[in-house]
């Protein structure tokens, strides 16, 4: 800490100096920060901030404070808020300021007003707020709204208020929502794209808060979806994702649109600005995939619409960047959510494989998540990755472990339950995150109930659950457990056995150290002992009583637990009057009334054994107790309540079923492991009138389940998983792979070796893992035998993870590993060096570099390396351009003196693949004594290639030549060779830009600069410019006459004009069209008599059809195109071409 402070302090003066202008404004802030850093204790900080705040308070209320000072105060207030101090007095000033001031003030105040709003939020939700206060809040909210801040949370209250209140409230109440939404609705049609986007998001937020209030603007959402700006469309997807999540059925009709949008995005139809790491609009794609998966869920016809585009997405996303993996992950999830299609599932499964096997930990995590999702549909998939899953179980990363357990939970069955539960409990013991514990303990309990193989295991596991989960447990876990014990199954013998186990184990627990046991566990134990202690005849009842009374004496036991214990004592006290009376006496003076009552009961019952017998009959079956299960004596009360408007009663199981329909509570988990056969258990025999309603529906379900599981055992284990059936085969196949890898581990590879767990005997270790695998994945699917055996021949994936470059024969993968180790060492150096002052970006995020940067396939490894290279290149370039000490801008006035050395042989320098393309003449762009630039246009079908030749006119080497080209109207798709490290004397370098024109302009000009160094440290800059015409971007459109006819009818924008007809040759029409064709690259489709049809298009985009007719001495030209501006441009160029002729 102290060195940070020190460094901060030393840096402060420098900062002040460097930014004299801006520094003054926030000078006080600096002082504040500086003094905070000088402090040593939290207490001092508190004092300082308090002082600061009171000073600010004074200042803001003083009339002499200028706007500028005010602003500065607001920034300071913001800072204090961030540190957690209350600066709410500034809110109102902030609002004032925002009203008066300009953008700057607004921005800063926005944050504070948000705080004001949240303070209001608190107030409105507090039940103590009076009507009058409420009204005042509403007015304040309206004020904030007026300033353009979102106070929409008040609407609901406003509406409430309007319902309850008088006239005044009503007016305020009804006013606000309309007041609010209207500016957004109007701004949704605003001309500026960014404003429309923000308006859409605001409406979405509005929808979230008060969905009923925005029914009338759903049409606006659709409008936003169809907005011509992709950004606005993207924002509207937020809304649709939410709407579709709520009711997918009402938006099925939009599926087609979403598919089309995704298709266009994937196909790269969006402007290049939307690319991120050369992936077109990845965030948009993710949104769309989510929407599609929601729409296609359980709907075959809708799903069929999207198969194609999903396939396309899976295929396209192959580059090696994080963001493509994000898309892939969504794709995979979508494929598994929608109506299945075998081909896609197969591809998706392969993708999951790539994720799971990836050495990048983030991808592995996602892979596990995807697997967890997918095993619900296809459990076999987990089998393929069993070794990886086992590795993940031992992973050092908490998150990964947790996710793995989640996965295991999904594939648990009766055969692997013991192993999986053991793993989960191991994890729980080492875990200290409350949330995880609650979550996982519930799952363990569920598994134990569903799949327990025998009594002792079940009781033991539940003991663990109670002692680990403790009082964090959800109440239904102990409840279910006790119900299970109490109701039992059909066989009395069996039930008693289970209860006996429980009693035995609890007695053992109680004899040990009990002070650390959670209350919930104690309650369960005391109940069980009270009910069933008599079953255990070998134990003296007095011993049980003694143990329980001991508990009562403990301080840590809560009073609720005491009540439980006392009622247990009441049940077993029969005949032990002497022990009990003392106890009852001591407790009858207790402060807790319930406890006192219990003590009284205890005393009476223990004195009158007959009464005891009658009230608490020992060992009586549950069905012996006469309970009026219909509660008919309450009928009158119920009907009265219903008449008064109460909601009808819903039994708990129904409520629970609604919550989680798939969770079946198995009340007969012990059937097949005990001598009693399953068939003897029939649900209908159940004699418990009290709990019949609870158990019948559920247990019917679970019996089915367990019977199914029973079938699995017979098929799965005996054939495949027998002790001598499967494992030996594994052994045979693994050693050849494992031994060399251990042998070639050179002593020098210490660092790498350290990362691997010490494995003294790889063979046994491997065997252990295999065994674990076989026990974990037992019984998954009927075809498991085949897939597992097939898998065992291929080396398990974990071998690929080991960094042993000596073994890797392919140069590419060793290259990667060297690179990654380099970079990892670099990154570690950076961590130490770049402290406070280090540029944040200098260090790659830890995940992207790891010493284990082995990718499974060598191709992907290549891709990675390339990516990295280009990235570094790019970075290097910018630094070359910016890094020079001096930048000399020299206008190209010398150009006249040095006639441009345009040489026709320049085209010979074109790369081989471009030589055959049609090209224009080479023209000179600019030159100075050392460099000359000339350009040439190459017409490619989908783009215009602007080739720039950079020639060194001197006898010396020119270094670091970098060309930069800018053009507002055009889009650069790709560029190559715009940076040359070193240009030899009298040589020429070629750089080319692929340009696209989306909106036709008759002429576009481009400007650019070339920077270079003749001497190190001196950067010269040479500007150049040029023009391009639409004609350069027009390509012939080859169509037949019929196609032309169809297309003609479908186009909307048309222009008609009479042009000059060339009459100097025999056939004026043909001559004219030919000359146009030469000048503009048109395609003459057909000439019939005095009419001719011609077609062209703008690169590979919008077509334009021309219809020409000879009309006397003029040519009547009629142009049609889907693009409004294109016909005009073409017409202009036609006129020029004919005029020049």
């Amino acid at each position: 800490m102290s060195d940070v402070v020190e460094k901060t302090l030393t840096a402060l003066p420098a900062l002040f100096d460097s930014q004299t202008g801006a520094a003054k404004i926030t000078n006080r802030l600096r002082q504040l920060i500086k003094s905070i850093t000088e402090l040593t204790s939290k207490h001092e900080e508190e004092n300082l901030i308090k002082q600061e705040l009171s000073a600010m308070k004074e200042q803001v209320s003083s009339p002499n404070t200028t706007m500028k000072q005010m602003r500065e105060i607001m920034v300071r207030a913001m800072y204090c808020e961030m540190l957690g101090y209350d600066a709410s007095f500034t809110y109102i000033h902030a609002i004032k300021l925002a009203q008066q001031g300009g953008v700057l003030e607004k921005r800063e105040e926005e944050n504070l007003i948000k705080q004001e709003l949240s303070a209001m939020k608190e107030q409105v939700s507090s039940p103590n707020t009076t009507m009058k206060q409420m009204r005042e809040i509403m007015v304040r909210a309206m004020y904030c709204e007026m300033l353009g801040y979102d106070a929409s949370f008040t609407y609901i209250h406003a509406i409430k208020l309007a319902q309850q209140g008088g006239v005044l409230e009503k007016r305020v109440g009804t006013f606000t929502p309309h007041f609010h939404s209207s500016p957004y609705i109007t701004s949704i049609t605003h001309a500026q794209e960014i404003i429309r986007r923000k308006a859409v998001l605001a409406l979405y937020k509005f929808y979230l808060i008060a969905p009923n209030q925005v029914q009338h603007i759903h049409a606006k959402f659709r409008k936003a979806l169809c907005d011509k700006d992709p950004g606005v469309m993207t924002s509207s997807l937020h809304i649709y994702l939410q709407l579709i999540r709520e009711s997918p059925d009402s938006y099925k009709d939009l599926t087609g649109s979403f598919v089309t949008i995704l298709k266009q995005v994937v196909g790269g139809k969006l402007p290049l600005d939307f690319n991120y790491h050369s992936v077109p609009a990845p965030w948009l794609q993710i949104q769309l995939l989510r929407i599609l998966s929601l729409l296609g869920k359980e709907d075959q016809s809708t799903s069929e619409l999207m198969y194609e585009v999903l396939d396309e997405s899976l295929r396209r996303a192959e580059m090696n960047h994080n963001i493509t993996y994000a898309i892939l992950y969504e794709c995979v999830k979508a494929v598994y959510t929608i109506h299945p299609k075998a081909e896609l599932l197969e591809k998706a499964a392969r993708c999951i494989g790539n994720f799971v096997l990836s050495p990048k930990i983030n991808l592995k995590y996602l892979g596990l998540k995807a697997l967890t999702y997918v095993v619900q549909h296809d459990a076999k998939l987990a089998l393929q990755h069993q070794m990886t899953i086992i590795e993940c179980l031992d992973h050092s990363d908490f998150t990964i472990k947790r996710e793995t357990l989640e996965l295991l939970f999904r594939i648990t069955n009766a055969q692997n339950v013991t192993v999986i539960v053991e793993k989960m409990l191991d994890f729980l013991r080492s875990c200290n995150d409350e949330h995880t514990i609650i979550h996982l303990v519930g799952k363990v309990a569920e598994l134990a109930e569903k799949f327990a193989p025998d009594n002792s295991w079940f009781i033991q596991t539940m003991n663990d659950v109670f002692s680990i989960g403790g009082d964090l447990l959800q109440q239904d876990v102990p409840n279910n457990f006790l119900r299970l014990l109490a109701e039992g199954s059909e066989s009395k013998e069996e039930d008693d056995q289970l209860r006996l186990y429980a009693v035995d184990s609890y007695l053992t627990v109680l004899k040990g150290h009990t002070s650390h046991l959670p209350q919930c566990f104690l309650q369960v134990m005391s109940w069980v002992l009270g009910e069933y202690a008599h079953l255990q005849e070998s134990v003296d009842q007095r011993e049980v009583i003694r143990l329980l009374t001991q508990l009562l004496d403990q301080r840590s036991v809560s009073s609720e637990t005491r009540v439980w214990i006392l009622s247990a004592l009441t049940k077993i006290s029969e005949g032990q009057t002497d022990l009990i009376l003392d106890l009852a006496e001591s407790l009858s003076s207790s402060q807790d009334t319930v406890l006192r009552q219990q003590a009284q009961e205890l005393r009476h019952l223990s004195q009158e054994s007959q009464l005891h017998e009658w009230a608490l009959p020992r060992g009586a079956p549950w069905d012996g107790i006469e309970v009026d299960s219909s509660l008919s004596f309450l009928d009158g009360f119920v009907s009265e309540a219903l008449a008064a408007g109460a909601a009808p009663y819903k039994p708990p199981h129904q409520r629970q079923e609604e919550l989680c329909e798939d969770r079946a509570l198995n009340l007969e988990p012990y059937g097949f492991s005990l001598p009693v056969s399953l068939s003897s258990c029939s649900i209908t025999d159940r004699q418990s009138p009290t709990l019949l309603s609870v158990s019948s529906g559920l247990s019917g379900n679970s019996t089915e389940l367990s019977q199914k599981a029973g079938c699995l055992i017979l098929e799965g284990v005996k054939r495949v998983w027998g002790k001598d059936g499967y494992l030996p085969q594994k052994k045979r196949s693994t050693p050849p792979v494992d031994e060399p890898s251990a042998a070639v581990q050179p002593p020098g590879q210490q660092e790498a070796a350290e990362r691997i767990e010490p494995r003294p005997d790889p063979l046994t270790q491997n065997q252990d893992k295999q065994q674990l695998a076989s026990s974990l994945f037992v019984g998954l699917g009927v075809g498991s035998a085949m897939s597992l055996l097939g898998k065992s021949e291929a080396p398990p994936p974990r071998f690929r993870k080991k960094p042993h470059p000596h073994e890797s024969s392919s140069s590419s993968s060793s290259g990667t590993s060297e690179r990654s180790s380099d970079s990892s060492s670099r990154s570690s150096r950076n961590t130490t060096n770049s402290f406070l002052y280090g540029s944040l970006l200098e260090k790659e995020p830890a995940t992207s570099i790891s010493a284990f940067d082995h990718t499974p396939k060598s191709t992907t490894a290549n891709g990675l390396a390339q990516n990295k290279d280009t990235k570094e290149d790019r970075r290097a370039n910018t630094s070359q351009i910016l890094g020079g000490d001096m930048v000399i801008v020299r206008p190209s006035t010398i150009q006249d003196k040095h006639p441009p050395s345009v040489s026709s042989d320049l085209t010979a320098l074109l790369p081989a693949d471009l030589k055959d393309l049609p090209h224009s003449d080479v023209i000179s762009l600019t030159s100075d004594p050392s460099l000359s630039l000339s350009s040439c246009r190459l017409f490619r079908d989908e783009a215009l290639l602007l080739v720039i030749f950079i020639s060194n006119c001197t006898e010396t080497v020119i270094k670091d030549v970098a060309v930069q080209l800018t053009c507002e109207e055009l889009k650069t798709v790709s560029l190559r060779g715009n940076v040359v490290d070193c240009l030899e004397a009298r040589s020429t370098s070629v750089c080319h830009y692929a340009l696209l024109m989306d909106d036709p302009h008759t002429n576009v000009s481009f400007t650019g600069t070339v920077s270079y160094q003749t001497q190190p440290g001196h950067t010269n800059t040479l500007p150049f410019s040029g023009t391009l015409s639409t004609a350069d971007f027009i390509r012939p459109l080859v169509v037949t006459t019929e196609e032309y006819g169809k297309l003609w009818l479908s186009l909307s924008h048309d222009v008609k004009q009479n042009l000059k007809l060339l009459t100097d040759a025999g056939d004026p029409l043909r001559t004219t069209l030919n000359s146009l064709k030469d000048a503009l690259q048109l395609h003459v489709v057909d000439i019939i008599g005095s009419e001719g049809i011609v077609a062209c298009r703008l690169l590979s985009g919008a077509p334009c059809l021309l219809h020409c007719r000879v009309n006397g001495t003029a040519l009547a030209m009629w142009l049609r195109s889907p693009h409004p501006a294109l016909p005009d441009c073409i017409l202009y160029h036609c006129q020029r071409a004919l005029a020049h002729h």
Partner: protein, 160 residues
Amino acid sequence: MIKAILIFNNHGKPRLSKFYEHYTEDTEQQIIRETFHLVSKRDENICNFLEGGLLIGGSDNKLIYRHYATLYFVFCVDSSESELGILDLIQVFVETLDKCFENVCELDLIFHVDKVHNILAEMVMGGMVLETNMSEIITQVEAQGKMEKSEVRAAPFGLV
């Protein structure tokens, strides 16, 4: 939806906090503290996601973080956000800061809190991702900067 965006340094000092849902001041501070506690004890070479936690709304939520030099950038999001997507969003955010401040370091975040907030406001609005294109963000921020400058010059030093 993004619930909160937090930036703090290696010692847990908050450098920026932005909550898109309402919490009381104390809860906010507690969230920052606990998040720091969770994130700071994680190694460099394990994954960038943290699940659950009782902090912000329970099991549906995740923490997605990145560690740059001295600073942790933490996004608390719910299940409707893509993990890798957010991870790259953080990268975009940091790269944008880097562009705007020219080699951004912790001090920039301390002394120009307002500017950082402005940049963030262009990227995320009300918990929803608004813009992911770096050059677009920079354009917007610069446009604002220009407006501010012209206002500072034009604004009379009137009384408040």
